[in-house]
């Protein structure tokens, strides 16, 4: 039996603006196991980001139960949530969200600082993470000295550096052209192959096809939850050689 990581039951998230109640999520139940590769799709405003924030322990549900590795997240304190985000979850954002005044190395180091890891080990691990995303020659570049794809690689290195249980990516290719997006998807493919659990949000069917399972949201409800029959396996050698001519 596979190890369960995420188990949510009848989760709802309601925002109240004035007298109006917005049901970002109405009633969502979802179970994700270790080493799954899940894509979340749906029209704009359907609650994808809200669900991701919930899964990533950035936000807590208005009602329902969320168990992360069999621990009830809904009952946790702010500090506990911060610790889970730090150790168990790696976030990748559409807009990269790097610290603009810090170089790549420091950006990747950041989660390790909050994990209380000493400077020399931190630098070594951050360097390894940057190497693993193919940025060994961009270690001391600041975000504004990097291309969009390279920025997203730094962000992925930052997400990976703590060896989290899951990687959450909210439209990670949304700000990239299709070729660069494909390179990023190759990285996710490798991360997944190494045994990681990957959950990503996307608007593009061809991006979603990289995943093994697609969850479709509509109006805060799960419309469809299906396995991908003809999953797209990226061509590693092609992508790598493309990467080298980059």
């Amino acid at each position: 039996m596979t190890e369960n990581i995420i188990n949510i039951e009848h989760i709802a998230k309601v925002y109240t603006i004035g007298d109006v109640k917005v049901h970002a999520l109405s009633d969502v139940s979802l179970r994700i196991d270790k080493n799954e590769y899940v894509a979340i799709m749906g029209p704009s405003g359907s609650g994808k980001s809200t669900l991701m924030n919930m899964l990533g322990c950035l936000d807590t549900p208005s009602s329902g139960v969320y168990d992360f590795k069999a621990r009830n997240v809904s009952l946790m304190t702010d500090n506990d949530l911060a610790a889970i985000r730090n150790k168990e979850i790696g976030f990748v954002f559409q807009t990269f969200n790097l610290l603009s005044r810090s170089d790549a190395l420091h950006n990747v180091e950041l989660p390790l600082i909050y994990a209380g890891i000493g400077s020399s080990e931190r630098k070594e691990r951050a360097k390894q993470a940057l190497i693993s995303v193919g940025l060994e020659d961009r270690i001391h570049h600041k975000p504004n000295e990097l291309s969009g794809g390279q920025r997203q690689r730094v962000a992925i290195a930052r997400a990976l550096v703590t060896n989290p249980a899951i990687i959450l990516a909210d439209e990670p290719t949304g700000n990239l052209d299709s070729k660069t997006g494909e390179e990023i998807m190759l990285l996710f493919h490798e991360i997944h192959k190494k045994g990681n659990t990957v959950i990503l949000v996307t608007h593009e069917e061809y991006i979603a096809k990289h995943a093994a399972r697609i969850v479709r949201l509509k109006d805060g409800l799960i419309e469809k939850d299906e396995l991908v029959p003809n999953r797209y396996i990226p061509n590693i050698t092609a992508a790598v050689s493309e990467n080298q001519t980059d």
Binding site: N97, Y114, A115
Partner: protein
């Protein structure tokens, strides 16, 4: 427990580096923020140094008056007696002094003193409007004078009202820059005087022209002889007790003796005053206390304004970096870490500002030093550092708390 302390130190250290980094990243803003504290700290330190300097000089000056010396005078230094009553008092004469001296047994020394404002000349140089002190050879016993050269005029010279003079160190410096004053002849009011002694620096600049360094001392008879108009003025009787412990008894005796000399009946009140340094001290303390409080209040205010400035800029900084705070939280920064980061930042800015302020204060004190002796106290340095750190923490508290309690999702969404 040990782990907690280690964790705390680790967080402090990392917070400090993060703070340094963001200070470096926002140089202009950090500099402007610092300015308030620089001004605040440098003015507080300079002010307290200046006050300390004035105080030291005064203490020194006043102690040159001697804690054990009484000044029997027509005038009171401090009193609530109406001015006209003081004015109508009889003057104190040389005869009264002689009588007083023969009757009083407790004093170590008793000397009559009169003063005149005169100009001293030597060849082409002159010092104007100095205090010309006339007394007798006992005068030196009522002081703690030390000599650079020569001696005080002696009993024979004073009894014979000779034209001999002892000059203060400032006057010596002005008239004899080469330090060869002894046995030279100076002119006061057209009369020649031979210099028999030069005082070493008594260092009580605060007394101004009362400072012995700016005075010339000649026998009292000589003053009466050449500045006849002054004969009608009253004299002061300087009385030195045998020890500071005996001042009170000496004062009581002096009062009794002077009443007898003046022939006052039991019902009549004193028609003279016995002044002493203590009264000066009390009054000085009152005045300086007010100056001190006012000065520190005003400069403290500038520090407070600086602190408000820091709080303001820290609020702006927190607002501006909302997204950064969101990112930090998303990757696992706890509230405490965010709080620490911003507190550390404002404390570091204030500390740097404080150190710059200190340097400026030291430079200022070098300038002030040319007018009066000051020195920055070690305690002032530590107080300044402490105050700037405290200011930083207090000013950073509210902004840092705002940052710490931000919701990560809202913060990330912030544009």
């Amino acid at each position: 427990m040990v782990r907690n302390i280690n964790l705390f130190l680790f967080e402090m250290k990392e917070g400090f580096f993060i703070a340094l980094q963001s200070i470096r990243a926002n140089k202009a803003r950090s500099f402007l923020t610092m300015l308030g504290i620089v001004i605040g700290i440098s003015s507080v330190v300079s002010m307290s140094t200046a006050i300390k300097g004035i105080d030291n000089s005064f203490q020194k000056g006043i102690s040159s008056l001697g804690t054990d010396v009484l000044y029997l005078d027509k005038w009171a230094w401090f009193s609530n007696v109406e001015f006209w009553k003081l004015r109508n008092r009889k003057k104190i004469t040389m005869e009264q002094y002689e009588k007083f001296k023969s009757l009083a047994v407790l004093p170590l020394a008793v000397a009559p003193v009169t003063n005149s404002r005169q100009t001293v000349k030597f060849e082409n140089s002159s010092v104007e409007n100095i205090f010309l002190n006339g007394s007798n050879s006992d005068y030196v016993k009522t002081t703690n004078f030390t000599f650079d050269m020569g001696r005080f005029y002696n009993d024979i010279e004073s009894k014979a009202s000779r034209e001999v003079a002892v000059i203060g160190s400032e006057i010596s410096k002005k008239l004899f820059p080469r330090g060869d004053a002894l046995d030279k002849t100076i002119k006061i009011g057209g009369i020649s005087y031979r210099i028999v002694g030069v005082l070493s620096e008594q260092g009580s600049f605060i007394l101004g022209s009362f400072n012995p360094d700016n005075q010339v001392f000649i026998p009292i008879g000589t003053i009466f002889k050449h500045f006849a108009g002054d004969m009608f003025s009253t004299i002061t009787i300087n009385i030195r007790a045998q020890s500071p412990a005996l001042v009170q008894e000496t004062k009581i005796e002096a009062e009794g003796v002077m009443r007898k000399v003046r022939g006052l009946s039991a019902e009549e009140e004193n028609d003279f005053s016995i002044n002493q340094q203590e009264g000066l001290m009390d009054n000085y303390n009152k005045v300086v206390g007010v100056i001190q409080i006012a000065g520190l209040f005003i400069t403290g205010l500038s520090l407070f304004v600086g602190a408000i400035g820091i709080m303001n800029i820290m609020f702006v900084s927190v607002k501006e970096r909302t997204k950064e705070i969101g990112v930090r939280k998303a990757i696992g920064a706890k509230r405490r870490a965010i709080l620490g980061q911003f507190l550390m930042e404002s404390a570091t800015i204030c500390l740097m500002g404080g150190l710059v302020g200190l340097v400026i204060a030291v430079l200022l004190s070098l300038v002030i030093n040319r007018f009066m002796p000051t020195s920055i106290q070690v305690s002032a340095v530590f107080t300044a550092i402490g105050i700037s750190l405290l200011t930083g923490v207090l000013a950073g508290l509210a902004p840092a708390y705002t940052a710490a309690k931000m919701d990560p999702v809202d913060a990330l969404r912030y544009e």
